[in-house]
């Protein structure tokens, strides 16, 4: 039995906590709304012409696959608000804790996987036929600080350009499908506004039966890097694309083991992999059929 005074203190703390959470959520919502940047901006012919030396930096900030349980979507269903957001957060936490056994077992099998080494291994041959003159390349875990990035951008003078690829890997827990998502940004002429922005999503075949060690996953990660560089080259060669000008028809694509309809146009289909470009300009590379 909790003494009345203690119960009162707990209750008061709970009210303060609720108020603080409300403030945090409001700030986060405003922040996210304001931060919605462009996902796509084609590299114009004149900008492309001026790129004489390109430095490519691939940033892989992950140490492990991030298995994030999905929130139930109460907030979205009810049109936002504090209480639904807190419900989402609490349920997501509970679901995350329930996944720990599966996560442990999966990560244990691929604990020796070096994400950056895999990206590095595949990047060198993939860049061989790149449409711009790559003079240096690197793979790093650290996302540059704002100050360092500003300095790096300021140094893009006299035909030098800097291309950063921020990459995120995820494994879909049910189908064990590897998805590689990359945001590409190219700066030149010391201009803080990028000349090019690209979104590239590459998804491989489901691994559920094959994940008995890092071998199959390692192969897919290398393939994903190759695929990403290929699509990046394709994007840099497509200055005519203007997103959002005409709505595209829906095409069926296989994503996380499920066929979904997506407003996009097919770019290519070869070797069991389909590439589509969606209305927003993102290039999506997915398997043509389930394994």
């Amino acid at each position: 039995m909790v003494p009345p005074r203690e119960r009162e203190i707990i209750s008061m703390h709970a009210r303060w906590a609720a108020a603080l959470r409300a403030g945090s959520i409001a700030v986060a919502s405003l922040w996210l709304a304001a931060c919605a940047p462009l996902h796509y901006k084609a590299l114009g012919p004149q900008d492309r012409e001026r790129v004489r030396q390109l430095e490519v930096q691939v940033v892989v900030p992950q140490e492990t696959f991030v298995f994030s349980a999905t929130a139930p979507g109460v907030s979205a269903a009810l049109g936002g608000g504090l209480i639904p957001a807190l419900i989402d957060g609490a349920v997501q936490k509970s679901r995350q804790e329930a996944m720990r056994g599966d996560i442990s077992a999966t990560i244990d099998r691929v604990i020796d996987l070096d994400y950056r080494a895999e990206a590095r291994e595949a990047m060198v041959p993939a860049l061989a036929g790149f449409p711009l003159n790559v003079t240096s390349h690197s793979v790093t875990p650290r996302i540059m600080s704002k100050a360092d990035l500003d300095m790096r951008i300021a140094a893009t003078k006299d035909g030098k350009a800097f291309l950063r690829l921020l990459t995120h890997y995820s494994l879909e827990p049910k189908s064990m499908t590897l998805t590689t998502r990359t945001h590409a940004m190219l700066w030149q002429d010391g201009n803080p506004a990028p000349s090019y922005l690209g979104s590239i999503i590459s998804q491989g075949r489901a691994l559920s039966a094959a994940l008995d060690g890092p071998g199959a996953l390692r192969e897919q990660m290398r393939q994903a890097t190759t695929d990403t560089i290929r699509l990046l080259a394709l994007d840099l060669n497509s200055p005519q694309h203007a997103p959002g000008q005409k709505p595209k028809a829906s095409v069926p694509i296989l994503f996380n083991g499920t066929v979904i309809q997506w407003a996009a146009e097919q770019v290519s289909a070869e070797d069991g992999q389909t590439v589509v470009r969606d209305n927003g300009g993102a290039l999506i590379s997915v398997r043509t059929k389930v394994n």
Binding site: L30, A33, A34, P61, V66, A69, T70, G89, I143, A282
Partner: protein
């Protein structure tokens, strides 16, 4: 509405490249602090004691070999904003959590073994323990911060040693995306992993088999 827009613009200016309060230039303190025991709510049920591993008297270990063998010691994950469920979502921006002294953190965590009933003893009679820090990663997801910490231990057994990995998970509400909160979340994960190790050490001390 205009006020909202002004506030949003201001926040964008302040926050877009800085990922809120996370400092991408200051490393984490890497000071291990065991999480405070959760305070029971007035009507919370009693924690079942039957699931706890019974403590063995005289369970002494020596920390013969402690190492930080992570593949990357520069960072510990970070804030990468991505919406997993959306097909075209990409990591638009983010900030790294910079790592500090992993050995100090690991040693600090192992010093809490006595709180789980395992004494640390430097004598030759104690069971020699080999512990490595294999993984430490923190990230944000929705309203929460998460961490995953993996320790690998060579457990001294009668017939030799058994290598086993302990996965620890931490999760907490993300208030301000601050460095201290990432450290706290990593500490939760480390605590969870050390607890798993301590439970198995109790089995070792009792002469019982440890699950694979």
């Amino acid at each position: 509405m205009n006020r909202m827009r002004i506030a949003a613009s201001l926040l964008a200016t302040l926050g877009c490249s800085h990922a809120l309060a996370l400092s991408d230039t200051e490393p984490l303190t890497m000071v291990y602090e065991a999480p405070a025991p959760a305070r029971a709510l007035p009507n919370a049920p009693e924690e079942p004691s039957a699931v706890r591993t019974p403590r063995v008297e005289g369970c002494n270990v020596s920390l013969a070999h402690v190492a930080d063998t992570r593949l990357n010691k520069e960072t510990l994950g970070g804030s990468v904003f991505i919406m997993e469920g959306i097909v075209t979502s990409v990591p638009i921006f983010g900030a790294s959590v910079l790592g500090g002294d992993g050995m100090q953190w690991l040693r600090g965590a192992l010093q809490t073994l006595p709180s789980f009933g395992v004494r640390i003893d430097g004598s030759v009679a104690a069971r020699a323990l080999d512990v490595r820090l294999r993984l430490a990663h923190a990230w944000n997801a929705g309203m929460n911060l998460n961490s995953h910490v993996v320790l690998e231990a060579k457990l001294p057994q009668a017939g030799g040693t058994q290598v086993k990995r302990y996965h620890g998970f931490g999760i907490k509400l993300n208030w301000a995306n601050a460095n201290s909160e990432f450290m706290e979340t990593l500490n939760l994960g480390m605590h969870d992993a050390v607890k798993g190790l301590a439970d198995d050490l109790q089995h070792v001390c009792a002469g019982r088999a440890v699950s694979a």
